[in-house]
Subunit: 233 residues, 2 copies
């Protein structure tokens, strides 16, 4: 009833300040950021930070959730600016939104899409925010199916689906996008992997001495290749 106590307010403020400083250090130190360094920059003693995050992993988890949410939001706002009927435009906007965020926050992208930390197991609370980008793409497909602006591939065009794989695709479709036919979901998954594959390659330095100036062009073209494969129009 009563407004938040002073304590609670200060606590929330300090919590987000800790996360902000940690985010800044993430850029220079990578995943092995130092809780003590964060505390030092805050003018606190390291043990005090443990009042707010019970362990370094919990701080990392909080950062991961924030990053997933930021990336998801970036993709969504970019995509939402495009006419709903323009599937290709929405796909391009979402893709570039993801890439732009990743380029602006490379350490954060590495945190969520990079190598898993050996001892670290991502808690369940991360899967929701993590699903935002994939949900965006699935919604795109579902909208295309509803509007008839996406080509459902004829059977036999793609390599055959093993029964095992078909069952798994059906299971995914059933609980995420029931209107999307199996073959289309399969193609969408390919495009989804390609999207993040290109971004990951670019950020992790696999394009060095290969594609230098034309990276944005290259990414854009990959998006269009995949859009054509999926049948967006």
């Amino acid at each position: 009833m009563t407004a938040k106590s002073i304590r609670a307010r200060v606590r929330d403020e300090l919590t987000s300040e800790i996360k902000a400083i940690a985010r800044r250090q993430l850029a220079t130190e990578g995943a092995n950021l130092s809780l003590r360094a964060v505390a030092r920059e805050l003018g606190m003693v390291s043990s005090a930070v443990y009042r707010y995050f019970p362990s370094r992993d919990d701080l990392l988890t909080a950062l991961i959730i924030d990053c997933y949410d930021e990336l998801g939001a970036a993709a969504e706002t970019a995509e939402s600016a495009v006419d709903r009927a323009d599937l290709l435009g929405r796909w391009l906007a979402a893709g570039h939104g993801i890439r732009d965020w990743a380029l602006a926050n490379p350490a954060e992208y590495a945190l969520i899409y990079g190598s898993p930390v050996p001892g670290y197991q991502a808690p369940r609370t991360t899967i929701g925010p993590a699903a935002r980008t994939t949900d965006l793409i699935l919604t795109l497909l579902a909208d295309g199916v509803a509007a008839g602006t996406v080509a459902v591939p004829a059977a036999g065009t793609d390599p055959p689906l093993s029964p095992l794989l078909a069952a798994e695709l059906d299971r995914i479709a059933a609980l995420a996008c029931p209107t999307v036919p199996r073959e289309l979901l399969s193609r969408g998954t390919t495009a989804w992997i390609q999207l993040f594959g290109v971004v990951t390659f670019e950020l992790f330095g696999r394009f060095q001495n290969m594609i230098e100036e034309g990276r944005r062009d290259f990414f854009d073209r990959q998006l269009r290749v995949m859009a054509a494969y999926v049948g967006l129009r």
Copy 2:
């Protein structure tokens, strides 16, 4: 002239033993392996290890080179077992060779294809071993061009190449695979990214709760989708 001195033999032996122990610890500790722990397991004192590797980063570099070489060798031996004229078979063999090695050595794969370590800059000595897998694919394409068993895509089929991107592709082709036309190289690059994109997604846990049992089937199918796109036959 003279045989290696005892010192040199012992040194070589210890050097590879250090690397072997480090490799084993890599599996459990990930990229932040401890030089002291390696020394401890060796029954040496930490400062003694510095006689063999001037820093922890140098140890990591040595491991990275070894891993690139192992991965390259695994892909090459898998691919070399297939009839030279069977381009699709060679592509599938190389792809599965890469994935099999990655599944057998996940920490090592993360080391070379995962998030870049913030302070670490890969020295030039790594680019040779790193190029083995891509060379394999480029040779595949060149062989296909020579034998006429790969379809060179007609102009206008794919989204247009920007002049910038076309120039970079030409530069790559000129010094790596002069006989491969630009459009084919472009498609090959797409396939190359998809290959490693799928492996990376699988190893970094992006398929959890999505594709579980059918991962090998899924990978195989992605390889075939890409083979069809590239025009291998």
